[in-house]
């Protein structure tokens, strides 16, 4: 099992490398000339062509893209993620300061997703094709098709200003995160509900459930003991995909609820054309997604006992 796990994790290395390459390319296609930006940062100096050329050489911009990628990569590994075009601050530091906010909103969203969709999906599976199933199916589709930014504005108006259930804005306590997390998770709740329903239905159709019922075990005990555990594995494997969706979607939510996270940072950077921040944001979010997927893989192996014995499979390369 250990070698299997290592091999699974090893397969992430090319993905990680490819992701950094993609991020590097984002910098290449950006219309700004970094040398020019650095030289004119004080807002007064207008560098001559020779000065610019010298600076470009000094920054390594006259080298081939391959060489630039290697030195950029080395810098990234040493924590030199570049400096902001606007205020000259270190990109990594700025991003790391905003990271906890995004992580906490995303975690809150995941909490809501699990809180709502696992039981609701189970209800759907139990009442398969009856009215609760149909109603919840419609709800799940509605949840996946509602524009979150629109929902967020309405929810803020109704729940925060009119009913005063949640605080309107601010960041600091858990209470501030409840609503943003919920809104962020809305689409995922709908999707996971359906996933949980289908997974549970598949499990319930299996023979061992039939055996358990034949033994006379109460239905809800079977659902709880056999069904949920097995369908949970399916959900966990897909959760990796959903978390990447949540991390991306967090940008809009953070902006609307004015939370000082990565999303707010990058949207401000987009307005200001601050390319290093945008590039760093993609790199950071990409790394996080890949690490989450690695974690999911580990969890998958731990949850699925058969895999521990099975060892490696020849053709499996994800």
């Amino acid at each position: 099992m250990k070698t299997y796990l290592w091999q699974r994790l090893l397969l992430f290395v090319p993905t990680l490398l490819g992701m950094t390459l993609l991020t590097f390319l984002l910098g290449v296609v950006s219309p700004a000339d970094p040398a020019m930006v650095v030289m004119t940062m004080d807002g007064m100096s207008a560098p001559s062509a020779e000065e610019l050329l010298l600076k470009r050489h000094e920054m390594g911009l006259d080298q081939s893209y391959a060489m630039q990628y290697v030195s950029w990569m080395a810098g990234v590994l040493h924590g030199r993620w570049g400096v902001s075009f606007i205020d000259g601050k270190d990109v990594l530091g700025t991003l790391l300061a905003a990271l906890p906010v995004t992580l906490s909103v995303t975690s809150m969203a995941i909490f809501w997703v699990i809180f709502f969709s696992i039981p609701l999906g189970a209800v759907m599976a139990v009442y398969y094709l009856q009215w609760p199933d149909r109603l919840l199916l419609l709800l799940s589709m509605a949840l996946t098709s509602v524009p979150v930014f629109w929902l967020a504005i309405i929810a803020m108006q109704v729940l925060c200003e009119n009913l005063r259930i949640f605080p309107t804005s601010g960041y600091g306590s858990l209470r501030n995160l409840l609503l943003p997390g919920l809104i962020l998770g809305v689409g995922t709740i709908g999707a996971v509900m359906r996933l949980q329903r289908d997974a549970l239905l598949a499990v319930l159709a299996d023979n061992y459930i039939l055996t358990a019922r034949a033994k006379g075990l109460p239905f809800f005990y079977i659902i709880y003991k056999h069904g949920l555990r097995n369908s949970f594995i399916t959900v966990v494997t897909m959760l990796g995909n959903y978390i990447s969706g949540l991390l991306g979607g967090a940008a809009i939510i953070e902006m609307i609820f004015s939370l000082p996270g990565l999303g707010t940072l990058v949207l401000a950077a987009v307005q200001a054309r601050d390319y290093p921040i945008i590039q760093g944001y993609v790199l950071m979010v990409g790394c996080m997604t890949i690490f989450v997927n690695m974690g999911v893989d580990v969890l998958y192996v731990l949850l699925k006992p058969q895999l521990r014995l099975e060892g490696r499979r020849d053709y499996d390369c994800r």
Partner: protein, 272 residues
């Protein structure tokens, strides 16, 4: 079953309604959607302006109708490009296999390693905002979904016996792909295409809302939500009208996609 049929019909109805509105938009709009009329700023609905006017005195109904044209038109173009790219890359990987397939899978993994919406923000931020960069952002972030499914399906079809039968008859790759493989993919592709249409509308409206999607002279629903949010406490229609349009249309696409999927599953297609 009747409830499903009923729902399906409503969804088709909604879809057809929006599609017709989008197609006939230039002839349907009562006013020029971009005409700024400072005499009639922020008016409530009346006989003249059925849905009122916005903060610049533009007719909300006209902007909604034009918005349908922009949203649906863009979604179609983007979904078509996405489908073509995904179909091509997925087929190459699944059909030819070996190292080529490994490379295709790796590229797919790389693109899936970055959250789609984040990459969209970055691309829209780095390129000049507008139609083309929007298209590029959407296609680059969503082709992987198509490619993955297509690759899996092609892999499955490739191992079917009738493919070997065709080869024995003398058919080449191009012939088999064109007449058999893509034909067999049609149900899967059409399902994904429908769902993708809804997803594109949703993500583009999100990007337009935060101001890096389609740009102001265009009447996009996401932009309308953005412009309406300042005044919506007194003029709620400015927010509710475009938002519910996005919602309804996406919902219709979703329901259609799900029912297509169910139909093909019950027809015995292996489908994920």
């Amino acid at each position: 079953m009747t409830a499903d049929k009923w729902l399906e019909r409503v969804a088709v109805g909604v879809w057809a309604f929006f599609f017709l509105v989008a197609a006939l938009a230039p002839w349907l709009v009562p006013y020029d959607p971009a005409y700024v009329d400072m005499q009639h700023v922020l008016e409530f609905p009346d006989a003249m302006y059925w849905l009122g006017t916005d903060s610049l005195g533009r007719d909300v109904l006209s902007r909604l109708i034009m918005g349908a044209r922009v949203s649906i038109g863009f979604a179609f173009v983007a979904a078509c490009c996405t489908m073509t790219a995904g179909l091509f890359i997925g087929t190459v990987g699944g059909w030819f296999g070996g190292r080529l397939d490994a490379a295709v899978q790796m590229i797919i993994n790389v693109f899936q390693g970055i959250p789609g919406f984040s990459l969209m923000i970055a691309l829209a931020g780095i390129l000049e905002p507008g139609f083309t960069s929007m298209l590029l952002a959407v296609v680059l972030t969503s082709w992987t979904g198509f490619a993955r499914v297509v690759r899996g399906e092609v892999l499955r079809i490739r191992s079917e016996h009738f493919i070997e039968g065709l080869r024995a008859l003398g058919a080449g790759n191009a012939f088999i792909l064109q007449h058999y493989v893509w034909r067999s993919l049609l149900p899967v592709i059409s399902t994904l295409f429908t769902i993708r249409l809804g997803a594109v509308i949703l993500s583009v409206s999100g990007l337009s809302y935060i101001g890096i999607g389609l740009q102001p002279p265009l009447a996009d629903w996401g932009l309308m939500v953005n412009e309406g949010q300042t005044y919506f406490r007194t003029y709620p229609l400015l927010l509710y009208a475009p938002g519910s349009c996005i919602f309804l249309l996406c919902m219709a696409f979703h329901i259609l996609g799900e029912s297509l999927k169910r139909r093909f599953v019950s027809a015995g297609r292996v489908y994920k």
